[in-house]
């Protein structure tokens, strides 16, 4: 057995096809392992997409990594003020949680994708994935991309709250700019 061996062009398609099948299987494997973990330790972490207070949310923020923990607190604070917001935390980028996003699309009016990355000439990396996920849905919520926190710049609870507030408005009338840069010096909108 060799891991990472040379593959000739006449076998390469078949090799990649097998890798694709493996990645397909990874989805089920991740979910199964999560169940095993839950069985042993009594807690679970949300599979490929961890949904936090999304069931009745008017708008949902999509985030990943440490900023998602901050966003959870913001969701709690805003709900206390009567705003129905939720958080969807991406835990696996490949395989991407397409099915989870499709089922989320029918339950919310707006999705705010918070990307800490930007692919020049396009948009944030997660934003394009989320949009393509829900394209085939009958009911498609408004999706807007917020670019923030590049280079480790702080994304404060205040900024997250403003993103939620913006999304609550945008979800009703549509987004003028599909992609917005957050907290950039010299831009008109104030975030801090």
């Amino acid at each position: 057995m060799g891991f990472g061996s040379l593959v000739k062009p006449d076998q390469y398609m078949e090799f990649r096809y097998k890798a694709m099948l493996g990645m397909k299987e990874a989805r089920e494997r991740i979910l199964r392992v999560e169940q095993e973990f839950k069985h042993i330790f009594g807690r679970a972490h949300g599979g490929l997409l961890d949904l936090y207070k999304c069931a009745d949310a008017d708008v949902v923020m999509v985030a990943a990594g440490s900023v998602a923990a901050t966003a959870m607190d913001v969701v709690d604070a805003m709900r206390e003020k009567g705003m129905r917001v939720g958080l969807a935390r991406i835990r696996a980028f490949r395989p991407f949680p397409h099915e989870e996003f499709r089922s989320l699309a029918g339950k919310t009016e707006g999705i705010a994708v918070l990307d800490r990355s930007f692919t020049f000439g396009a948009a944030g990396a997660m934003f394009t994935e989320v949009k393509s996920s829900i394209y085939s849905c009958q009911k498609r919520p408004v999706v807007k991309n917020y670019i923030a926190g590049l280079g480790g710049r702080d994304i404060t609870p205040k900024i997250l709250e403003k993103i939620f507030e913006d999304m609550l408005v945008v979800s009703k009338r549509g987004a003028e700019d599909e992609v917005e840069w957050v907290d950039v010096a010299g831009l008109p909108r104030r975030w801090r």
Partner: protein, 296 residues
């Protein structure tokens, strides 16, 4: 029939895509005979990255992990750490890299693994150039050799820089065991690998690996060329055991021209140039004898 001490069992099967007369095939074969089945071999970019066969084939009986050119030292460190976590103690981790992937591109990862005393064996099979990509000079190409990047016939001609002394570099890391081996002396070869396997910590093996296409030699003479390298003391067989140098085979002390004349890569050398090579070989040999007698 003379009885040998070399294990009978084979771990290399037919199907290697190596060239006819490839010395590296023999190096892998004898190494695995000495180490046995409970071995994982890490291979960076080098001839042996191709020689096991294209996916999904593999002519070796042991598992292989292919890694990036510069990463052999890091890959064996990771494998060892993973085995330790799993509590697997009876598996030998081997890094199996060419000379370019060792003395040039892989040197920092090798140095790191040695400094951390990673419990693994690093084998450098030395064909004295980047042979897999078309005979480009490496830091291990000897002075005087023709390669495609040190072409003869231009104003500069052959390689004018000397070969890096990787054994001295490894000795400076104060590793528990280092040795030179040759496919022409398989008994000595296997004994040293077995000793490396028994020794805890980082072990380094320098194997001379004749390359018919790169050295411009007759493929049927590979073992002979390897023997001449030892007998002409171009490649002395010795070990450095806990810092102590021990020469395991003194060789016949043949003139270097005997070694050079069977190789096309040295055909351009003039008599004075061969004389100056002889002097370097003689000086190195005296230095090695001194190291042995002084116990360093």
């Amino acid at each position: 029939m003379t009885k040998t001490t070399i294990p009978v069992e084979e771990f290399t099967f037919p199907g290697s895509t190596g060239c006819p007369g490839c010395g590296a095939n023999l190096v892998m074969r004898y190494m695995l005979k000495a180490l046995g089945e409970r071995t994982i071999v890490t291979i960076p970019a080098c001839c042996w990255a191709v020689m096991p066969g294209y996916w999904p084939s593999n002519c070796l009986k042991v598992p292989l992990l292919y890694c990036a050119f510069e990463a052999t030292g890091a890959a064996i460190s990771g494998l060892r750490a993973a085995l330790d976590v799993k509590g697997v103690e009876d598996v030998t981790v081997v890094g199996f890299a060419g000379d370019g992937g060792t003395v040039d591109i892989g040197l920092q990862a090798l140095s790191g693994a040695a400094e951390r005393r990673t419990d693994a064996i690093y084998v450098m099979y030395d064909n004295e150039a980047y042979m897999n990509t078309g005979i480009q000079r490496s830091g291990s190409t000897p002075w005087g050799a023709w390669t495609t990047t040190t072409p003869v016939g231009t104003s500069h001609g052959f390689k004018h820089e000397s070969k890096k002394d990787i054994m001295a570099i490894m000795q400076a890391h104060k590793i528990p065991y280092a040795a030179t081996v040759s496919p022409a002396f398989p008994e000595d070869f296997v004994k040293k690998i077995e000793k490396a396997k028994r020794t805890k910590g980082f072990k380094f093996i320098h194997a001379l690996s004749p390359c018919p296409p790169g050295w411009r030699t007759n493929p049927s003479l590979s073992v002979e060329v390897a023997r001449l390298a030892v007998d002409a003391r171009v490649f002395p067989l010795y070990e450095i055991d806990e810092g102590k140098v021990h020469i395991t085979r003194k060789g016949k002390g043949l003139p270097i021209v005997d070694y050079l004349k069977v190789q096309g890569r040295f055909q351009h050398l003039t008599e004075p140039e061969i004389d100056s090579m002889q002097k370097i070989v003689d000086d190195n040999w005296i230095m090695l004898l001194l190291k042995e007698s002084s116990g360093t």
